[in-house]
Amino acid sequence: MATLEAQLAELKAQLAQLQPQAQKSMAATVDAPAAATSMESPTPVSAAPALSWFGYGELNYTRPAAEPSQARADVGRFVLGAGYRFDERTRLVSEIEIEHAISSSSDPGEVEIEQAYIAHDLNAGMRAQIGLFLIPSGLINENHEPTRFYGVFRNFVETAIIPSTWREGGVGLQGNSAVGLRWDVGVTTGFDLSKWDAGSTEGIESPLGSIHQELALAKAKDLSGYLALQYTGINGLKLGGSIFAGGAGQGEPGFTGSRVSLWETHARWQPGAWDLAALYARGHISGTAALNEALAGRPTLIPEDFFGWYVEAAWRARMGKPWPLVPFLRYERFNTASSYTMLNAGAAPQPLADRIALTGGLQWQFAPGVIFKADYVDFTHGREGDRFDLGLGYEF
């Protein structure tokens, strides 16, 4: 009897030792979802394939109010992305974009690498990235897919002042805290002021958009730095701001000392069915006096300051489905050349007048990731720029 009791005690002890191991390795097999399998390992190794594909696109129709003959239909963007997970902490993010359907010497299209970087998680809240990546500036630049902004086209401020989709090559760090603070900091390539074309209007349409390099044999003598902070610790509220600054002379004769800076601050608040947003952005180019002296008489001189801001309100109708109908209204004021430096002759070029645009529209996300849009843009000074737009966007 004593032997049996001893054996029983030994078995109990062995069972007690085995139980925690079994608890770790024997997870449930809940086969309710078709794709679910048993979770056999407690380590967070992704079950997803290492290679993933994603993308987005925009097809649009635009009809200028003053010049109906200039109406155009276009595959504005066709973007394919590929991600590859090298290990649980290291991955590639890449996107290739075709603008305006066909890219050739006789067509208006472009083929661009929009992102190509390696991200490595340093820990659960911080990661490093190196390569060609988006600059964390404003509300749209990192969230530029058509399902994520209001209007057929991106707003004027985040096109003319912040040159979305704005990317640079370099290294960066990003952190996310449990209290809702995200920070980004990095060193990247910057702008090349020697690209300024005083004979075209490109610099007036977007000063920084005309001198960005997009890591296409980018001149890299002068580097830039960025810092961005964003707070989302209160549900429905997003507050943020960023600054980007660096040299823009790139060692070119006559451009020594030229620098570019751009800062912005933004807010987005989504109380109930409302989606409210506001953004202010301001850019500065220094060391332009001597350059503009040399360009005197040309159509487009280099501005010293440029700025823009907008307020936007949208209301998401529920309609009993998760794909709401959303009317929106946006008021924008921007100026791509609000001041010029004084020239040696003692006079400064006349700054441009502020432009004010009111955009109203409707969008309908009729399936997850697919959106139809219609809007009308009205500039307060005359009919130039007024237009009617239709758009179809998707993201997967």
Binding site: T29, P44, S46, G125, M126, V187, A245
Partner: protein
């Protein structure tokens, strides 16, 4: 006029102020055991649950859960405390945009939810779903039909897909509990 912003200088200063060990979450990926402790700190025993659904149960879960994102592995554990059963623990995976988000959820015996924990987040954008304020929106909710992204659960602008898919996944787990794991008749929420 010549201003010279000290770009590289503020980068260095920012790194010094915001280095890990400050406000940044410095934890590694959350292991299964750590997630169990975080969701059910009073749990003394986590017993794996093997469960197969009938066709009728599967249809009922699908109807309750609504549209779902692509899913990965799913595990369930019955949780015992010092005074008996306290609920169920789930470890689940839903697609963010490119890769799975691993998360853990606790459902109390009365059907109310506990704050979910993010076990692993692998996307390039949208990591804000780790915010405690966002995750806390799920705590104490009992009505599985009131788990609608952007309506009942507020969205984080810039992390929309992650918010929507995690909310969908949690809604699925609540439906699974209601149809297959709940043994006590529930009062109206």
């Amino acid at each position: 006029m010549s201003r010279r912003p000290q770009g590289l200088a503020f980068v260095g200063a920012g790194m010094a102020v915001l280095a890990p060990g400050g406000s940044v979450v410095a934890a590694e990926y959350l292991s299964l055991e750590a997630a169990q402790r975080a969701v059910f700190p009073e749990g003394t025993r986590f017993e794996p649950v093997a469960l197969s659904l009938t066709t009728a149960q599967r249809q009922a879960v699908d109807a309750l859960a609504g549209p779902q994102p692509p899913r990965g592995r799913l595990g369930a554990w019955r949780v015992e405390g010092a005074s008996g059963s306290v609920g169920f623990f789930f470890a689940d995976e839903v697609l963010g945009r490119q890769d799975f988000i691993d998360y853990a959820l606790g459902i109390n015996s009365d059907g109310s939810l506990r704050t979910p924990e993010i076990m692993a987040y692998r996307e390039s954008h949208g990591g804000e779903v780790r915010n405690l304020a966002w995750r806390s929106q799920f705590a104490q909710r009992r009505d599985g039909t009131r788990l609608r992204a952007s309506i009942d659960i507020k969205n984080i602008a810039g992390a929309t897909l992650s918010c929507e898919h995690l909310t969908g996944g949690i809604r699925y787990l609540r439906a699974l509990w209601q149809i297959a794991l709940n043994t006590v008749p529930q009062a109206a929420p």
